[in-house]
């Protein structure tokens, strides 16, 4: 094979059932078509996951994927993707994490590592460029991810090995368990539960291979330009307060879901705002590897510190009616320690609070605003005991078990609990949440940007939403495939040409990234269709469609079924799909996906 730049052109398959491993090559045409990160991950999932595989069965692969920019020191590029068939949704479950593990993963010489099968006993997997080891992990069980990382380094006698680990939630099969490394988390869709089902507590990687870039001198100039821009106005929010700054703004705009989406404002927002959090608790800011922005803010409460982002603040705060910052910080710290998605945990508990209030669930301590109830629920979920056994299944499954109409207030799409964007007052985002391939996701769709602009009226849907949602998905797909952090998105004056230049300087390849983004989004849809997607899966929860907003500046605003259907139709049309949301043969052909269908 001729020299590859930015890639290694190889992947590693580890069969945990017998400990065997093998290398396979990845053709350059695949790398060019799917770029890396979530794009390459989607291709590999489609290829290696047997159709109809049960998410927690051994045959469901768990795939860690690199990208061409990792190791180039381009700001925010130290990221990797982990993908599987989600145990929460049954559809594409991809998630990104950051920092040193991504760099070390790249140095192993593999563009992707695929874990298949299930280990006979709890194990941790060691991957070095020269081979694979599967070791006894009994000494690691019950440890939180950070503790597990440190212990693996001790066991291997190597202070430089980097480790991704699951916490207790992953060991116990909580369907929204995370995979964590370096204090960061691959948060959504339950990849940690799949790792736990494989009885893999940790993945340790250590490598020494450099990845060559095609045009190092020119890349240095672009890298410097991006780094300079990343220190200016384009990232100011992230460097100052971080994403927690959203809470008071969303509250004012009537877009802050509270009390399980019963309200769009929170009376005590000031007590849990980002501004209050900074003034009362901020300790310091830290950065990921290769990042110039420093968006991660640590907050002290008592003797502990915790990270906090807007989504965690919303989900463990106003969504559950909690107005005490110490409680929210404690809750977030427990989620990180046990390895659980804060959004899914908070939203499932909020469902439980309302369900208990309705008399359908026997949980006396579980009421909106009750901090002890929230913290106790997190404990029981992580341990899967008592009510936690039910709540560990996620709000959709829990509601199906309890019934009594509680499905109407399980705030999820395709099984993935909703992030902190009130769809009735952010109509572009409403569409993005309804049609997203991994469920209700604010990350794969950034359609909210249009809602927060002077482009359109966020309270009134119109036919432009389809293109807005589709374009935002495709751009996100490329950002998540290169991989760059979305916080650097405003540092590009003209995204596709500049991203294309970056890609070419690293790989030497000219690729139409706009089309690649469309290809990647369509591939994820293709996978979902194969795994049973139906038209009725693109929707929003009944509460959103049947209830008007009751509080805030947008009080009285509705998002009815017909209005949503109109927006979904405009999205399908923008994508060139059929009116029932299927990808037609000519679109598959155009995108080079026909061979996969």
């Amino acid at each position: 094979m001729s020299t590859l730049y930015g890639y290694h052109g190889r992947l590693l398959v580890v069969d945990l059932s017998c400990g065997a491993w093998r290398e396979e090559s990845i053709e350059p045409k695949v790398l060019r078509a799917f770029v890396g990160g979530t794009g390459l991950a989607a291709y590999l999932l489609h290829r290696y996951a047997p159709p109809g595989v049960e998410p927690l069965a051994p045959d469901n692969p768990l795939i860690f994927v690199n990208s061409p920019l990792v190791g180039t020191a381009v700001t925010t590029s130290s990221k990797y993707t982990v993908i599987t068939k989600s145990p929460l949704t049954g559809f594409v479950g991809d998630s990104l994490s950051s920092s040193y593990l991504a760099v070390e993963l790249k140095k192993t010489g593999y563009d992707a590592i695929i874990l298949t099968g299930a280990a006979p006993d709890w194990s941790y997997v060691e991957i070095r460029g020269e081979g694979v080891g599967v070791h006894d992990a009994s000494a690691l069980l019950g440890l939180d991810p950070g503790e597990a990382e440190a212990r693996v380094r001790e066991l291997l006698g190597d202070a430089y090995v980097r480790v991704a680990a699951i916490g207790l939630a992953g060991e116990r099969g909580v369907r929204y368990a995370t995979i964590s490394n370096d204090g960061r988390h691959a948060g959504r869709t339950g990849t940690g539960a799949v790792m736990g089902a494989k009885r893999v507590k940790a993945l340790a990687v250590r490598g020494h291979l450099r990845t060559e870039v095609a045009h190092p001198r020119e890349l240095q100039a672009v890298r410097k330009r991006l780094a300079e821009r990343s220190l200016g106005h384009a990232t100011e929010k992230y460097r100052s307060l971080g994403t927690t700054a959203n809470l008071s703004v969303f509250n004012r705009l009537g877009a802050l879901p509270s009390y399980n989406f019963q309200q769009a404002t929170f009376e005590q927002a000031d007590r849990v705002s980002g501004e209050q959090l900074h003034q009362a608790h901020h300790e310091r800011s830290v950065t990921c590897a290769s990042c110039t922005i420093g968006c991660e803010h640590l907050f002290r409460f008592g003797e502990k510190t915790s990270r906090m982002e807007y989504e965690s603040l919303y989900a463990l705060g106003p969504l559950c009616g909690i107005s005490d910052l110490d409680t929210v910080l404690e809750a977030a710290e427990r989620c990180d320690r046990y390895g659980m998605d804060t959004i899914s945990a908070g939203a499932t508990i909020a469902w439980a609070m309302e369900t208990a209030q309705q008399g359908l669930l026997d949980a006396p301590g579980l009421r909106f605003g009750n901090g002890e109830g929230l913290l106790g629920a997190l404990e029981s979920i992580a341990h899967r005991d008592g009510l936690g056994e039910l709540l560990a299944e996620g709000s959709r499954r829990a509601a199906q078990v309890v019934g009594g109409g509680s499905e109407a207030w399980a705030m999820q799409v395709k099984g993935l609990e909703m992030p902190g964007y009130e769809p009735r007052s952010l109509k572009s985002m409403a569409l993005g949440l309804a049609v997203g391939s991994r469920g209700a996701c604010h990350n794969r769709s950034t359609a909210y940007e249009a809602d927060f602009s002077d482009e359109l009226d966020r309270l009134r849907a119109d036919e432009r939403r389809g293109h807005i949602a589709a374009d935002s998905e495709d751009r996100s797909a490329i950002i998540d495939s290169l991989i760059l952090c979305k916080f650097v998105r405003r540092c590009f004056e003209n995204f596709y040409p500049e991203a294309g230049e970056l890609y070419e300087l690293v790989t030497g390849w000219q690729v139409d990234l706009r089309q690649a983004g469309e290809r990647i989004t369509n591939l994820k849809k293709l996978f979902n269709v194969r795994e049973g997607w139906r038209r009725s899966d693109d929707t929003l929860p009944p509460r959103v469609l049947n209830e008007a907003l009751s509080t805030g500046i947008a009080s009285g605003t509705t998002l009815g079924h017909a209005e949503l259907e109109e927006m979904i139709a405009s999205y399908y049309a923008a994508r060139g799909w059929t009116p029932d949301g299927q990808i037609p043969a000519d679109k598959l052909e155009e995108l080079g996906l026909a061979v996969l269908s």
């Binding site: 100011e236 700054a245 008071s248 900074h278 807007y310 989504e311 992030p419």
Partner: protein
């Protein structure tokens, strides 16, 4: 004028009342009342920096300095980086 995020922390206040007939005039008055906002939030001429945007009454985003203002209009100064 309601201040959010770093603007609020820098100014040390949640809101500032100014008399102004237009958005541009309001921003210039804000800069005079809170010079600590110049640089991060406001440009010397009284426009918002690219890091911030203005919203009228919680409903409409607007950065036209000639936007006329009524007596009861509320201007929200918020980060132009929407969302997460």
């Amino acid at each position: 004028m309601e201040l959010y995020g770093q603007a609020r922390l820098l100014a040390g206040t949640r809101s500032v009342t100014v008399e102004a007939l237009s958005l541009g005039e309001a921003l210039r008055r804000l800069a005079r009342l809170h010079p600590e906002l110049v640089g991060a939030v406001l440009e010397p001429g009284g426009r918002l920096t690219p890091a911030y945007t203005a919203n009228l009454n919680g409903l409409r985003f607007c950065n036209d300095p000639d936007q006329p203002l009524g007596d009861s209009d509320e201007i929200l100064i918020i980060s132009s980086l929407a969302g997460g």
